[in-house]
Amino acid sequence: MDNGTNSTNGTFEGFQTPPAAPKSFWFGLLLPTLYLTILIGSLYTFSSLYRKRLLQKAEKLEPWFPPHKQRDIYLSLLHLDPSEASDSADGEKKLSKVPDSILKAALLKRAVEDIQRIVQLRSSKQALQTLLQRGSVGDELWQRFLRAEKETEEEVKDVVTEANAFAPNWGQTIFQSANEINQNFILKQRTAEIQAKLESEKAWWESKRAGIQSDFMKELEEEDKPVGKPVEAGKKKSGSNDDDAVLVDAGGPAQAQGANGVKKRKSKKGLGA
């Protein structure tokens, strides 16, 4: 009976529980689902937020190079419609499109800029790697560098395809030409820098020479009467190697203006003594 009572009890309880049993079943299912959704949802939001922030950070990283102006010029030219842009100038003579020669020139300029960038990247890579290993610079800088490297590589490929589109096989030589242009440019810059000093050097030398000459004249006047001999002697003592110098110079390029040169040299000696 125990069983019975139990069962009755059970049924009785069961009688009451059946409405509760499905409830607890759904309730039991609800909890884990809730748990799972909250867990997955929070994980998802975290990861998406984290990724977004990373992307934002990467985007915020300053590009290694300033904007590529030559590339912009070239692409602007490609998209330029001269018949539209120049109709204000004169009506009868319109270009149907930008001449190829200009585009080629612009492309070559773009290649030159790329070469300059490549040179810069190559020269800084080694140093940057060392600094990174030592921990002197942050990872951010390295990320920026890698991005610049990748971009430049793509840019080079792009230029080569464009060049091949203009003339077969130009892509193989365009960067050679660009490199020479870059070298020649550096050459000219250095020459101009040095030549720019010419005027100031000339002026300096003129004034110095004038100074030496006037000093010499003054000294001559002073020397004439009272202290002719001692000064002369002093000059000889100290000036033995200077005399050698005079000999060497006179043998050299100074034949053209003998008198002037000798005067100058004497004046130098005068200054020394």
């Binding site: 010029i73 692409l75 440019f185 050459l187 000093k197």
Partner: protein, 206 residues
């Protein structure tokens, strides 16, 4: 974010008659100028596709002309007409500097080093030390090794102007570059100049 797929459209216009570019943006002026210059050089090309040839073999015409000018400069120098020599070298230098930009820079370097060196010598013959010093410096800048004469000339000019310390430093630098060089006589001269300057500096007269 992807910079390779976007570009900034620049305000450019093109003159239909001259085909010269112009821009309303003043910051682009120098770039546009360069581009127009390069464009004119392109138009003068007579290669099949009107693209610059590879840099290696250059157009020999210009080299011949430069050589001619240099020869006449040398002849004038030998005759003692130094101002004429300077003028000839001047023309030759201009000619060499105006080579198309894409021609081999090594060649330009060599030519200019030689011409500036000669011009420095012509200045020195007229006792124009300042000019000589500057030209010799350019020559050395173009060609550091195997240019004993250039080193010597600037050293000599500095010495003549009484800039002993500078001269000493310069000659020391030159010897560093040239000592192993093939031109033994030249190195000897440079060493002699160095010794002279050294002695002068040691004697404390300057």
């Amino acid at each position: 974010m992807d910079a390779s797929e976007t570009f900034t459209l620049l305000p450019l216009t093109i003159d239909p008659a001259t085909k010269a570019l112009a821009s309303s943006d003043p910051s682009l002026a120098t770039d546009i100028d360069d581009l127009n210059k390069l464009h004119r050089a392109f138009l003068a090309l007579d290669t099949p596709n009107q693209v610059p040839p590879p840099p290696a073999p250059v157009n020999p015409k210009r080299s011949v002309q430069i050589n001619k000018l240099r020869e006449s400069g040398n002849a004038a120098y030998k005759k003692g007409a130094f101002p004429d020599a300077v003028k000839m070298y001047d023309f030759a230098i201009r000619m060499a500097a105006e080579r198309p930009m894409w021609e081999a820079s090594g060649l330009v370097r060599e030519e200019l080093a030689n011409l500036y060196n000669n011009r420095a010598q012509a200045w020195m013959a007229q006792s124009l030390w300042a000019e000589g010093a500057v030209d010799a410096e350019v020559s050395v800048e173009m060609k550091r090794v195997g240019n004993v004469k250039g080193w010597w000339r600037r050293g000599q000019c500095l010495k003549e102007m009484g800039r002993w310390e500078e001269a000493g430093e310069w000659v020391r630098g030159g010897l560093e570059f040239e000592r192993a060089g093939p031109d033994k006589a030249g190195v000897g001269e440079l060493e002699a100049l160095g010794r002279e300057v050294e002695k002068m500096l040691e004697s404390g007269e300057v």
